[in-house]
């Protein structure tokens, strides 16, 4: 259930250094007021530094792409102005309360100042000017960030938000059964080219957010919204093998019970690695002629295909498609595929499952197939397939044998990535 990748560990080390210094400060506190004040100032300074040096795979402060970097520069502009204003205002405040405090045997009678129009005008105009300075790049930034990518190499991806998982469709890539490439939760993208996401929701409002690549964008039922992601070439590190890097995100609009478990894992490939990934994803899932995997397929078509779909290659070599009838959401000119459950064609190639929450391994799968609600809070008792309302995968009372057969089958669907 944990994220174990290089960037994370680096972030953590830096983080612990900071944590240690903060703790030692609190220990000294209390010996005298002056020391306390100095340490408070030091702590405040450390805090201010902490606030502008981000870390972690999901931070907005260490952008991994040009759009997020533009946003970060705007943030740094307003942040530094805000820190300046804060310091000046509080210096004035602290100076006033120290200088004009009531001392022992103080019988000053203060001058009864009622106001000063010139001062009022001054401190109305100065903030207005500062704000005007912020406004210009803000308005520029709004139009820049929202601009649709014009690069001919732009990769189009359609996103449908579901309670509580993400469905992705790559209309530019077609499988052997003539259907586009479908996947879930893990968004594979090439670095260096714009990715144009066209998004809608199948149920309630969600929000697609990968802070290192761009700000968030709500995913609203009945509406089609766009978000452009661009990842720097150097994001394709070696997190997941040569030329494969990862950044994280998650749903940012409260969408009910498992909102916290509706996560996004963006897997950024070098162009060659992306081409290889697409190639691999287009291959149909093999159906075994006999053995445990074949028995698993029998259970799959009897139980799972009520909601899940897959492009399969039967033992006789024909490519077929199994799953519920296709359903589309049509919003203006945009047509979105909306499944009841994730497409499982290349399931074994995924790093995680269950809303990108659980590492894809046999132990997790065994628990999940027995009773998904045991590890992810969902409400499948309220499912109603007729009205297409799905609030999570129910427990089907599968036997241990059926579960291990299903896992056997899934292990043959797609190439297991190294390392996972």
């Amino acid at each position: 259930m944990t994220v174990r990748i290089g960037t994370v560990r680096r972030g953590l080390e830096r983080h612990q250094v900071r944590a240690g210094s903060a703790r030692s400060e609190t220990r000294v506190r209390g010996s005298s007021g002056r020391i306390f004040t100095r340490l408070a100032a030091l702590g405040g300074f450390a805090f201010v530094l902490a606030a502008c040096s981000g870390s972690g795979p999901q931070t907005s402060l260490e952008p991994s792409g040009p759009i997020a970097r533009d946003i970060d520069q705007l943030w740094m502009l307003v942040y530094s102005i805000a820190v300046g204003v804060f310091v000046l205002v509080n210096l004035a405040l602290v100076y006033a309360i120290i200088k004009f405090r009531d001392r022992k045997n103080d019988d000053r009678q203060p001058v009864q100042l009622h106001g000063n129009t010139k001062l009022e005008i001054t401190w109305t105009i100065i903030p207005a000017v500062i704000l005007a300075v912020i406004t210009v790049p803000t308005v520029q930034g709004i139009f820049d960030v929202r601009a649709e990518p014009t690069d001919p190499e732009t990769v189009q991806i359609k996103v449908t938000g579901h309670q509580w998982w993400w469905e992705y469709e790559y209309p530019g890539f077609t499988r052997a059964d003539g259907r586009p490439l479908y996947t879930a939760n893990e968004l594979h993208i090439p670095t260096g080219v714009p990715i144009n996401l066209t998004m809608t929701s199948a149920d309630v409002i969600h929000s697609f957010w990968v802070p290192r690549l761009n700000g968030k964008r709500d995913v609203v039922p009945g509406r089609s919204s766009n978000l452009t992601l661009v990842a720097d070439p150097d994001v394709a590190t070696t997190d997941y093998g040569a030329g494969v890097g990862v950044v994280l995100g998650q749903c940012a609009e409260f969408c009910g019970l498992a909102h916290a478990d509706m996560r996004i894992r963006v897997i950024a490939h070098s162009p060659e690695s992306f081409a290889a990934w697409v190639e691999e994803q287009l291959a149909p899932a093999p159906v075994a002629e006999s053995g445990a995997a074949a028995d698993g397929y029998a259970t799959f078509t009897a139980v799972c295909t009520a909601c899940h779909q897959a492009t399969v290659q039967l033992p006789d070599g024909t490519v077929d498609w199994v799953g519920p009838e296709d359903f589309f959401l049509e919003i203006g000119d945009d047509v979105f595929h909306s499944s009841l459950g994730p497409d499982l064609t290349s399931f074994n190639s995924r790093y995680t499952f269950g809303g990108a929450v659980f590492d894809n391994n046999t132990d997790h799968l065994a628990v999940w197939l027995d009773n998904p609600s045991a590890i992810k809070p969902m409400d499948p008792d309220r499912n109603d397939i007729a009205t297409r309302r799905i609030l999570g995968m129910p427990s089907f009372g599968l036997t241990q044998q059926e579960i291990s057969e299903l896992i056997e089958m899934l292990d043959t669907w797609g190439v297991e990535p190294v390392p996972r």
Partner: protein, 640 residues
Amino acid sequence: MAITAEPQQQQLEVYTGEKGIWAWITTVDHKRIGLLYGTTALFFFILGGLEALFIRLQLATPNAEVLSAEAYNQLFTMHGLTMVFLVIMPIAAAFTNYFLPILVGARDVAFPRLNAFSYWLFLFAGLMIYSSFLVGGAPDGAWVGYAPLSTQITEVVRMDYWAIGLQLLGVASIASSANFIATVFTMRAPGMSLLRMPVFAWMALVVAFLLIFSLPAVGIGLFQLFLDRNFGALFYEAAAGADPLLWQHLFWIFGHPEVYVLVLPAMGIVSEILPVFSRKPLFGYEFVVFSGAAIGFVGFGVWAHHMFTSGLGPAAEAGFGIATMIIAVPTGVKIFNWIGTLWGGRIRFTTPMLFSIGFIAMFVIGGLSGVSHAVVPADTQQHDTYYVVAHFHYVLFGGAVFGYVAGVYYWFPKWTGRLLSEPIGKLHFWLMLLGFNLTFAPQHILGLNGMPRRTYRYDEGLGWDFWNLVSTIGAFLIALSILVFIYNILRSRKNGPIAGDDPWDGRTLEWTISSPPPVHNFDEVPIVHSLDDFWHRKYTEDETGRLVALPPVSGGTLTVDEGGADGGDVVDDDHDGDGHGDIHMPSPSYYPALTSFGLVVMGYGLIYLSWGWAAVVAGAMITLWGLFGWSLEPVTREEH
């Protein structure tokens, strides 16, 4: 009215009047209603605080299992709803009820029984929402209740409690707002022109207007949600062609002015306290008043800055972003004027003053992080993260709550005749300031590092562990400071130093009358000659503008040297010492409580529609009974 213990006791008896619970249920005295509002708000504050502690315990460590997702979602929804509607709004209403009439020199609000009705409806609706914990679970769709999540699961009644409860609270607020507006415009003492009103009275007036204009929008939205949930109406059903964003517009065109509803009264309180303990008039009174009104006015034009990620389009986003920045200007004017008030004064660091200064410092942080939300692209990173949680807690806790606590320390002697303990108060202040900053400052970093709000768990390895733990420790420090506060109240209520009429050397009319004030507030309706009228009866200025004390007026009562010069219906008091003369006070009535009780019975009926029609009918009958009794009973009590 000399400052001795003995008359104090007499006054306490005058104040208490009829004893027992029935006297409180039937009271129409604005001071008692104010105290009821205050105590009830404190009760809900404890509940909302406990919810916050559970939330912080769950988030203290990654993937903690203190709460299930289901419990967590209920607790954060109820925490928000409680703190906004059942704590901060009512505590503001408590101060306004108690002090608005006194500050403008009136004997009660314009509609005393309507005032009682507002209180009882608020109490019953609050209890009704909380009763949901006992019958299947509290609302769990966030306090903003975004459609279609809030309309989605019709078989669960939780969000019906939220929809009906908020609707009833809205009715209570509209009634009390109308009452306050009528009080300000019709009940001011002779000579109390609008620009002689204390800033707190001004802010109460602005808030009343904000509520009257904003609540109907969310009221309509709540009805639509209720109809969607229970009658299959399609106001927010995208599949039927509706646009769920409509709810966000209706909610935030209420919700943003609501922010100012929560904070403007606290700004008013701070504007009263700073001059008193600086021994200087408020710097730029007119500018403070008008910037408050400007904040309220512009506050109606910025609601969509809560929707910068929803896809309004660049033009609308630019417009609302700029409007939001404009609000920072009058806010800055206020802060500069407060510092101007301190400047050159003789500053006494009493507990109310400490909390007021804390208010300024903390509010500056909340205001500045607010400006960063107006930078729309940056907001797309901050929106719905802990950065926003930090921002609005700096405004609503570091701002509003600090201001209201300052008000409690400042006016407690007027309520009870006794001062709160200053040493305990200072301990309370430093604990709360430290706890508050430990809790919420780290949340800025958490949000910018990608932690979304309203999530019940998170993985380790995201760089969030340390600051979440710090935040939880801070939350428990806040809880400790609140315990100190409650101890101070309980202890000082009986044992605190006797306050006398004017313990702080105050400036405004409430300090001219006894502590606690008599039922009728003023033996003689005061005639007001200037802003800070009471101050000018005690002090004058020499030619350099320095303060010079006037000799104390003999006899303790205030002579009115130009009685009637300003016109008006000054009651010529009989000066016989009991101070009642021919003052007519409204008589107690249980009909307001009965009327509001009927409304809440109807509310329960609507929530359980399948069998609830009987309750709807019964509630309607009770309400009608209450209204009939209300309109037919005599208005004034017999002379005594």
